[in-house]
Amino acid sequence: MKDERINISYLKQRLASEKGLSEKEASTFIDALFDQIIAGLQEDGQVRISGLGTLRIQWNEPRKSVDVNTGNEITIKGYNKVTFTPESSVKERVNQPYSEIPTTIVSESSTPDNEEHFDPIQKLGEQAESIMDIVAVINGFERKPFSVERKDEIESKPIEEPLQNSVEEEPIQESIEEEPIQESVEEEPVVEPVQEAEETPEIKIEPIQEPTKEPEQEPIISISTPTATSTTAPITNQPSQNASQIIPPRINQPVDNNGGHDENSHRGLIITGIIISTLLLLMIVAYFVFPQQIDNWFADAISKIRSLKTTEQVEPQTSTDSVSTSDTLVVTPTIEVDQQEPVVEQTNTEPIVANEPEVVSSQEIPAPKPFAEEPSEDGPRYETIGRGMTLAAIARKYYHGQTDFWVYIYDANRDILKTPDGAELGMKLRIPYLDDGDPDVIIEAQRRAKEYKKIQ
């Protein structure tokens, strides 16, 4: 379309047809038109055609130049050229499709980019502040007032980031995976202004993590803080942390918060923070991946205590059997047992009174249900797994349709069931006596059933 060309003969034809002229007349007219225009250009140097525009001859002065190939100086001769200036009406008509677009003044184009870049970061910074406030309230700290340096750090962040990327990758991943625990642990050092390096990733992450989760996790923080001072005993941290998860009432015991915080150098804090966070992550993963082993470990501890205290009890063969296998899996058996002894004793006392060593089997005690199961009316119940049976089906059968109670059956048989769906044909499962009318027990069962689903 654009390159379609109309020549003079087409023009003649169209003119003839429109004005009712013969082709000859139109032809002579148009020839005369352009003859006269050329003549006019040559005489006056300019021809004004109303309704179209003005043709004007312009003299280009001779000028000196350099031959590109030889490098010699040459002069370009002066010459005439014809310029065409359309009439304003024609101009407007031609430019009609674009006439609406106004000339706009460019507001300083380079700076707005920067502003847009900094804006969100500062917003994040504000969020970080508010989150840190929350954490501070939870931990009972008095948060140090924010210094101006912090903002500088935030602004300098884009420069630092690429440099430290390699170093920071680790903490970023951790804090994402590790959920709120990690975050609040590292939050404390953030208050100090030197923390630049660790600070940047956190600011990024915070919006992802919901601050609402923090309150729940708060006690765990307090546990991990003391270890910040003593990095040499990271393994001992494991049982205490597990204990805190499994036996909620014990959580507050090891709290001595502000430990050696201030004495340590900031850099040391950073390193220890990273180490702690990795350890925490590993523990959490371990807790979810090997729940039965951890439970076995508890069983081990309990059985030892029991053997020390009550020698007359005959029953716990089954539990010790399972423990002996799990013993090899747990890395640090002896030291932690000493630590845990008091813990276990407390929970242990009630069941022992219950006078039923079998049902109060070691596996059940460490399980995270505060409500102990009903003392058994008769001897232990057993169910042999048949074809097509599931834990849920068994639970439905024994607990008046409460399918979620399979978690308790699973807990009671951790020694033979490695996973919740690890039941095999012919297995003889203990069926604990439970109050299936107690709403608390039901809710707990539902909660834990959900957890297991998540893990899978």
Partner: protein, 92 residues
Amino acid sequence: MTNKDLINGISSQTGMTKKQTGDLLDSTISIMLDELMQGKQIQILEFGTFEIRQKNERVSVNPITQKRTIVPPKQQLSFKLSPTLKEKLNQR
């Protein structure tokens, strides 16, 4: 040379009346613009080519105020001289 001169010259060359010449000139120009608006080039041998050209938007800087302005895109009617006429004009 004004439009009047042009009409006089054409009428004397063709023998038409000035009125008729002016009428024909107007219709010729309107035909030309019509064709141009359809995106066509009008090439007249030994004279030149009329064409509507697209100019892209550009940023211009006011040399006094140093303010940058975006000049919107536009279409312009342009004329390119044919080489033969150019030669003719530069013969002297």
